[in-house]
Symmetry: C2
Subunit: 277 residues, 2 copies
């Protein structure tokens, strides 16, 4: 018969994965067992706390829909997403830094001509966005695609807001011969991550605010280059120092300045892509 | 502006919980951040692996219903449930050892008189179960409740099997003046944990069998005593040494012996309850 002491139990669970055919999966599972068991032992986790964790994970899974990913939100607010990003996306000089994808990306945004307004004249401070996509050596990349999305003036993404068109505040732009792009939008606003789910309730109970500093999302890609998922943040935003998902990088903070001789704001940013491995 | 290196990121996430009002919750969250970040760093988790984990957790949550708890199953097959049990249920001599509750308990099983057959004459080897509920000093406890459940001969619990009555193979018995109980059932059979969900798929990919050794579940409780959730296992079962949820304890393995002069099997077991703290 097999009866285990607490340490023997952990060893037995690790051994149970000894026959895993895939070496990487075996390593990941055995390290997971060590981490989970260490955590339970170190904290002296009670049955009631375990029961809460089971219920929390269940509610988190059941909150997910095709437009809502509560587990990504959990990963984001625990800084796990940014750590995975940091480990996997070490960039050379001249390549744009990445940050979290976030749970609000929607595939299938329309291809739009340069100069299009992704806000469709909706409320907010009109802003012109321009720039180029470059190699690390500063050479223009023609035909690079910028997949862009952001919140509307009401601080909601279109996927959160039945009153917005599905692809409001979203669009795809393609760089010209000089690697340049140009579109119009409104200045993004700071907003709370969703607080009506299990993750928001925990943030609240822990005394953490749910706010993200204002930003525009970009996925920039081009054939032969590594795509980058990133944001441009609004300089001066009060939440730059306490982003609930820890995603701010200095190189991604830009000044939204009045455009000379016009009633709009303007930003300019050159993205750098590193060649694919 | 706040930009973090990989180590600074972990420290920043830990600090974000500094204002948690509840000291225990703060400790649990901060240790969780350390464990998760250590795991990601130690394994060099790739974006694709993180993405798989998000999807796995989502599918696990969405597999849960009021009769199916896939996260408890996950906790069970990773040995976490038994570790939580071991840490929280250190028992004095004379008290019955606990083991996993499992995901198949159903509240509201009928109160039945002594001698009732929870198998209702269904298929299987008829077995008589008797014994007493005692204090650690061996004094009988009158009015203790035994909440009993097990699989039917087809290796399914009633909550898994639409062809069984809701409370088939389930019942509640109350000890008499001598602390004694007595009921009839069929000998339990070894069975696989559910393999049609995310957890079963991982077990299969990892080369682990999904089997549990045959057992009858009990929750034994009485006013003034700490309740115990436990099993009685069938001696000789081929899976006693490799229970997929690591739940076997030597003191819970019993001999199912032919009853002299009858065509049934019989087991006898005295449960011990420790006084409530």
């Amino acid at each position: 018969m097999t009866q285990f002491s607490e340490t023997e139990l952990t060893e037995a669970v690790i051994r149970s994965f000894d026959d895993t055919p895939n070496a990487r999966a075996k390593f990941l599972l055995q390290e997971l067992v060590k981490s989970l068991h260490d955590y339970v032992s170190k904290t002296g986790l009670t049955f009631e706390e375990w029961d809460y964790a089971i219920d929390f994970l269940t509610r988190t899974g059941q909150k997910c829909t095709h437009t809502r990913q509560e587990f990504i939100l959990l990963s984001d607010v625990l800084g796990v997403s940014m750590l995975v990003d940091a480990i996997n996306h070490r960039k050379p000089d001249g390549a744009t830094e990445s940050t979290v994808l976030g749970p609000f990306y929607a595939e299938g945004a329309p291809d739009l001509p340069h100069g299009s307004d992704i806000a469709h004249g909706g409320p907010g401070e009109p802003t012109e966005v321009s720039g180029r996509v470059l190699t690390p050596e500063g050479k223009p990349i023609k035909g690079a695609v910028l997949d862009v999305w952001q919140t509307a003036a009401n601080a909601l993404y279109s996927t959160q807001d039945p009153k917005q068109d599905r692809f409001n505040m979203r669009g795809r732009f393609r760089t010209d011969d000089k690697g340049a792009f140009h579109f119009r939008t409104v200045k993004p606003v700071s907003y709370p991550v969703p607080t009506d789910g299990p993750v928001g309730k925990v943030l609240n109970a822990m005394g953490r605010h749910p706010m993200r500093p204002a930003h525009i999302h970009f996925i920039v890609s081009a054939p032969g280059f590594e795509p980058v998922a990133t944001h441009l943040f609004v300089n001066g935003d009060p939440y730059l120092d306490s982003d609930v998902v820890f995603a701010v990088k200095n190189s991604l903070v830009v000044d939204f300045k009045p455009k000379p001789g016009a009633k709009t704001l303007a930003i300019s940013y050159d993205f750098g892509l590193k060649p694919a491995a």
